[in-house]
Amino acid sequence: MDPITVFKGKSVSIPIANIDTDQITPARYLKGTEKKLGSVFFRDWRFNADGSPKPEFPLNRPGAQGVSILVAGDNYGCGSSREHAPWAMHDFGIRAVISTSIADIHTNNCLKNGIIPIVVDAATHPEALAAGEQNLEFEVDLPNRTLTLPSGRKVTFPIDAFAQRCLVQGLDELGYLRSHAKAVEAYESARPGR
């Protein structure tokens, strides 16, 4: 994966709480074997049954062209473990998601697909949502764990230190696990039945 360090991006807000991964990528689009799912990102909130866009949905507003920072309501990404959700987000162009909380499995899946999950406090969240309403630009500084809001205000965000290092250096988690093959063999041989 390409290293991720500092990047700027236009934002969009979907100010709804408990957005589940069934909305991000509906189950009927899980039947393929490709990761190119940007066209079905939020399929049923973005489009009518006949495929025509719903003009009021934030991603369809004229200012939302080319957005890469998603600001969402509380508890983003709950529900199904489908990695098809971050695949759709990434293919659509999303590189960071901001909320007050992001579900555990979805956080892991985002980190493995070059999307930065950014948890902000309840005081910062309304400002981020309002900025996303206007599609303003945020800056993400991953090495310093800093989000710069369009107002210029900077906040730091928590991120797993190991995942951060992998993303910043473009390292591969599977490569790390494989580097410990000897320790795994020793673990297995010390435990009969494993």
């Binding site: 589940d20 039947k31 990695e83 899946n109 093959a181 795994v184």
Partner: protein
């Protein structure tokens, strides 16, 4: 120092932890299915890797299998392709595959326990969030993404940070017509869909001890709906009786008794539920936290978007509201005890709901139910008796709601479109689903028991 069940299993599986890094956690059992594994096998092929310990991975098909007459075959070419990809991945790597036509095929979280693969003290993962089901046996079981499926296939390990622990204490006795499903729906209504985020839940208390293994699985299954990493119940005699004689279960269970929380062990947080006060529950909204007693009134603070989608009004009851479909099935409630519970309500009665279907969780359950004559009770009541699979829980296999239809469902998620675009889902127990099927409307099951 006293330890929780979770800590004991965790510590037993940490291979190593480097400074500032997550732990390398050993995985005893890896379950795979057709929807979240093809890209993982493709990833292995791209790297030129093989599955490291194929005997620790077990595969089946469940999400996209049709539940109609098997003679018709699979009509959806994408579904056929997913099965072909899984078949190929298993064949290339020597993984046991319980495919279509196998007597062991069924929902992955149903067949693991049924075959005795799921055992106390294990770490179990699967590319499916409802892997928490297996925690009912005192295992640490959790859902993972496809990248992690690839990691487990390649290394039999995962990178994990230790979760926090949460105690859910359920004391008292469940009243007649109140099921395990009602316990978990009440918990999620109480703590919310993010209330368990970052935590492994252990369910404790007299009411949990009194539950059958199937009922414990129902509760652990929906731990993820409270946002929890995992849900678990310490093993006891009920666990060992369930496992005894199953194909992959051990002969002796004594070594499993150590898997319990020590007296005085501390949890990071806790919540209690009074079983005596519980009523049958039902959801009215578009996340599993939007639940209430079946006799309740839709809360005034329900978000407008939710009410509009569901076609409901705040301040009104759900009881008596007409429904279009009843679905009994899913990894939450498709086991033999669930089918017996529904049949006890339906016996000798006829449904008024236009479309009603029951989908057993596995071929073994279907066979068992047929040997008990349950299929006859269902059919005489007006139910469609189907082949096993995930079916209308997530509507990937053609079993789906039409836009605007309302379904009382024993499944686990009521998200928008979960059972088909525009479909409206009311989550409930098999008792409540069966009673609602009879009345053609949301019903309280207690009058039928």
């Amino acid at each position: 120092m006293p330890k929780t069940l979770f800590e004991k299993i965790w510590e037993d599986h940490v291979v190593l932890t480097e400074p500032d890094c997550p732990s390398v956690l050993y995985i005893d059992l890896h379950l795979i299915h057709e929807v979240t594994s093809p890209q993982a096998f493709a990833g292995l092929r791209n790297r030129g890797l093989k599955v490291r310990r194929p005997e620790r991975t077990v595969a089946t098909v469940d999400h996209i299998v049709p539940t109609h007459d098997p003679k018709i075959g699979i009509l959806d070419p994408q579904a056929r392709n997913l099965i072909a990809e899984l078949t190929r991945g298993c064949a290339e790597n020597g993984i046991t595959f319980h495919g279509i036509g196998s007597p062991n095929q069924g929902i992955v979280h149903v067949i693991g326990p049924e075959l005795g693969l799921t055992q106390p003290g294990m770490t179990i993962v699967c590319g499916d969030s409802h892997t928490s089901t297996h925690g009912a046996f005192g295992a640490l079981a959790f859902g993972i993404g496809t990248s992690e499926v690839e990691m487990v296939l390649a290394t039999q390990t995962l990178l994990q940070r230790k979760a926090k622990s949460m105690e859910v204490k359920v004391d008292g006795t469940l009243r007649k017509g109140v099921a395990a499903k009602d316990v978990i729906l009440a918990l999620i209504a109480k703590i919310g869909t993010g209330g368990g985020t970052g935590h492994a839940i252990e369910y404790r208390g007299a009411a949990i001890r009194a539950l059958s293994m199937e009922e414990r699985m129902t509760i652990c299954n929906m731990s993820i709906e409270a946002g929890a990493r995992a849900g678990m119940v310490a093993p006891d005699d009920a666990t060992f009786q369930y496992l005894a004689g199953r194909p992959f279960a051990p002969k002796s269970f004594e070594s499993f008794r150590k898997y319990s929380t020590d007296d005085g062990a501390a949890f990071d947080k806790g919540v209690s539920i009074d079983a005596d006060a519980l009523e049958p529950y039902i959801t009215y909204g578009t996340n599993p936290g939007a639940g209430m007693p079946v006799t309740g009134i839709i809360p005034a603070d329900t978000p407008r978007k939710m009410l509009d989608y569901m076609g409901l009004e705040a301040g009104k009851p759900l009881l008596g509201r007409p429904i279009d479909v009843v679905f009994i099935g899913s990894c939450t409630n498709s086991r033999i005890s669930d089918l017996r519970a529904a049949a006890s309500v339906l016996k000798g009665r006829k449904v008024k709901t236009p479309r009603v279907l029951v989908v057993p969780g596995s071929h073994a359950i279907k066979k068992q139910a047929e040997s008990e004559g349950l299929h006859t009770i269902f059919r005489e009541a007006g139910f469609d008796w189907r082949e096993p699979g995930c079916s209308m829980c997530l509507a990937m296999n053609g079993d789906e709601l039409k836009p605007g239809q309302t379904c009382v469902s024993t499944s686990n998620r009521n998200f928008e479109g979960r059972q088909g675009p525009g479909g409206r889902t009311l989550l409930a127990s098999p008792y409540t689903a069966a009673a609602s099927a009879l009345e053609g409307a949301v019903a309280d099951p207690r009058r039928y028991l």
